[in-house]
């Protein structure tokens, strides 16, 4: 029986455990700093201390998620007797041969290792948040472009719908949308069917509008998009992929779809506003006067010039999505009880806050630092992109 570790040695041991993350971070920074002049907007992050701090925080969690399997000290679901709510740095009682001898950040109410759960939680968050944000962006962009560019009735009706979703208090929406009963009705699948088709549609229009002048190229590109897109679509939305490569757990699908649904109207609003601004530019008129179709103008003349604010919003929105996922976890919606995701861990931990704060505080700090990193990154990007 060894003594509990001091705070200093806990930190040293955690740092040692995170070694792959440090190596990857240093490599990323060294490479990026060397070639920053050739990397466009990404390179310019390294001109701004704020952006760099943000980027470092974000990449820290990304690498943690990637190397989670190597980093964890214990099975995130494994329970050890006598480790219930134990303080950080406590040694394992009757540790098996080869097992890591400490609970670095203590144990939770079911005697599981808090550190390992936090690391695995990062993987959970980073699996869903960026992907959900990407899909939300595709939906928002595909709807926002024509609404802003063409205006009229189309704009009025899509705007009304998006305001409808925005007027819904998010929590209420989650309570209605993310329940086992809803899953039975198939509503998530319907939503998925609607939302997941947008990326395919978006890419198809994108390529078609540019390459319709040379049909051979167009057929090739659009063909590739359609084959891969519809294959993934069938798998993800209907779980009907014949090859079984694409699939999504219904639980996860429910959460994913809800998060996309909540985020899309926000993206729609931003895109619509930017399009209304950019469409008055002369190069848009130049496109019109040479007879370009509306989709080419929207996707190739307007969208690239809206990219600065959209990238910034993308970063902010991943942070927002992370918060939403945490909220879902906090209310115990849509996640399995043993899932190590940060939100539900905070939820279980909060009940014992008065006695053992660490099971809740550790994931709380993790979530905060990731969102902070994303916000700082967005701030840095905004500053740098305005310097043109």
């Amino acid at each position: 029986m060894e003594d509990a570790l001091s705070w200093g040695s806990i930190l040293v041991r955690i740092a040692a455990q995170l070694l792959p993350v440090w190596v990857a971070l240093i490599a990323t920074f060294a490479l990026s700093m060397t070639f920053k002049r050739r990397l466009g907007l990404y390179g310019r992050i390294f001109d701004s201390p704020v952006g760099m701090t943000g980027f470092a925080l974000v990449m820290f969690w990304v690498f943690t998620a990637i190397f989670a399997d190597i980093i964890i000290t214990h099975d995130p679901l494994g329970q050890f007797s006598g480790m219930k709510n134990i303080l950080p740095g406590a040694p394992l009682k009757d540790a098996a041969e080869g097992a890591y001898p400490y609970y670095l950040l203590g144990g939770d109410h079911l005697a599981r290792d808090v550190f390992s759960r936090m690391v695995m939680g990062a993987r959970d968050v980073l699996k869903i948040a960026p992907a959900a944000t990407v899909v939300a962006f595709m939906v928002g962009v595909t709807l926002g472009l024509p609404a802003g560019y063409l205006g009229g009735k189309l704009d009025t009706s899509i705007s009304f719908l998006s305001n409808l979703v925005l007027a819904f208090p998010v929590i209420l929406l989650f309570y209605l949308l993310v329940t086992p009963e809803i899953r039975v009705t198939g509503i998530p699948t319907v939503l998925a069917a609607i939302l997941f088709i947008f990326p395919v549609v978006f890419l198809t229009i994108l390529l078609n509008s540019r390459f319709f002048t040379s049909p051979a190229k167009r057929n090739l590109y659009v063909g590739i998009v359609l084959v891969i897109g519809l294959w993934a679509y069938s798998g993800l939305a209907f779980n009907a992929d014949p090859l079984g490569v694409w699939s999504m757990d219904p639980n996860m699908l429910n959460v994913f779809v809800s998060v996309v649904f909540v985020n899309s109207p926000g993206v729609f609003r931003i895109v619509r506003g930017m399009v209304m601004d950019i469409k008055t530019r002369d190069y848009v008129a130049a496109g019109q006067t040479r007879g370009e179709g509306p989709w080419y103008i929207m996707l190739w003349e307007i969208l690239p010039n809206a990219r600065g604010p959209l990238i910034v919003d993308f970063c902010l929105r991943i942070g927002y999505t992370t918060i939403l996922l945490g909220t879902l976890g906090f209310f115990g919606l849509g996640v399995t009880p043993e899932s190590p995701d940060w939100g539900s861990t905070i939820n279980y931990g909060r009940r014992l806050l008065a006695i053992a704060p660490h099971p809740a505080v550790v994931p709380a700090f993790a979530l905060m630092s990731l969102v902070l990193g994303l916000n700082l990154l967005a701030d840095g990007l905004r500053e740098e992109s305005m310097k043109d």
Binding site: F168, L172, E181, F330, A354, A364
Partner: protein
Amino acid sequence: MLMFVLRRIGVMILTAFALTFVVFYMTNLPPNLEKLAKSEASVRMEDDAVISWLAENGYSSPVLQRYGEWLGVVPGWTRTDETGKITGRCIKAGTDPATAPGYCGVLQGDWGFSTVFKQPVSEVLARSLGATGWLMFWVMAVMVPTSLLLGVLSGMREGSRTDRVLSTFAITTTATPEYVSGVILIALLASATAGISPILNEAGWISGKTLFPGTATSAMDDITFMNFFLPVMTIALYGIGYIARMTRASMTEVMTQQYIRTARLKGVGFRQVVMRHALRNALIAPFTVIMLQFPWLLNGVVIVETLFNYKGFGWTLVQAAGNNDINTLLACSVVAVFVVLVTQLISDIGYVFLNPRIRLA
């Protein structure tokens, strides 16, 4: 102007109908009704029993008709069973069916009966809204002046040290959702084993085990600084960061405007430039933001009331949603949607009033 308000109100009513119908539809989906039947009657019900229970309680008619009944534009259902006993939506148990009104929906002021709280929904709602009203009031009282002050101070001189310190603070709090800041605040100030409470206790500066209590249940009866500080700060912190950032952005933009240079080159002192020339223009945008914060505040309220066990609106909503209390849930969503839409309307109108360019154009 009047046309504008009327149009906005029209859109608002349309939105309210659409949203309540969505909520009604979602809460009345077959699996939800089945769950309701099982929780109301018996958990071990067979499918047939569920169906007959639903039919007996008026849940078998088409959803649109039931929505109408709930609204009070369609007469409440009545039903005569084999024994000749008449039951119905508007017939209270133990009253004479003949005297019961034909309509009993929201429009008649009847919000139904809460299955969780075993009380009429209107009573549940009144009590919880009152509690939340106080919470919101204090949140606003803390959040708005603080955030505007921070935003103006940091936006006044962009890039100064004050600006950097305040901006860092603001960005950190916006990255901290309520369930995180709440947990951290409790751990820091209201935990007997961690944070500063044990230290203070040892030093003999506080008599209790913790500096602040970890719950706000007692605030239901009597609001004090001690029991309200943590919940109010938890909600306000997030908003402070957000609004301060908006104010800062607006202020820095205004400070680079040509008319600020004009004022400066007229010989107006810096303090006067800020107070007389910049402030009013800079506060137009944050006003809208503050108003549009309400939907998010509602989120905060739900989280904080759950976290601190304060039985207000958010807590009620969670209880209702968790137990499929359809009537309460519907009422809660009506209130939530109403709050959101009214604040949007106020924000639009206020924007027009604050901005002379639009008002008189």
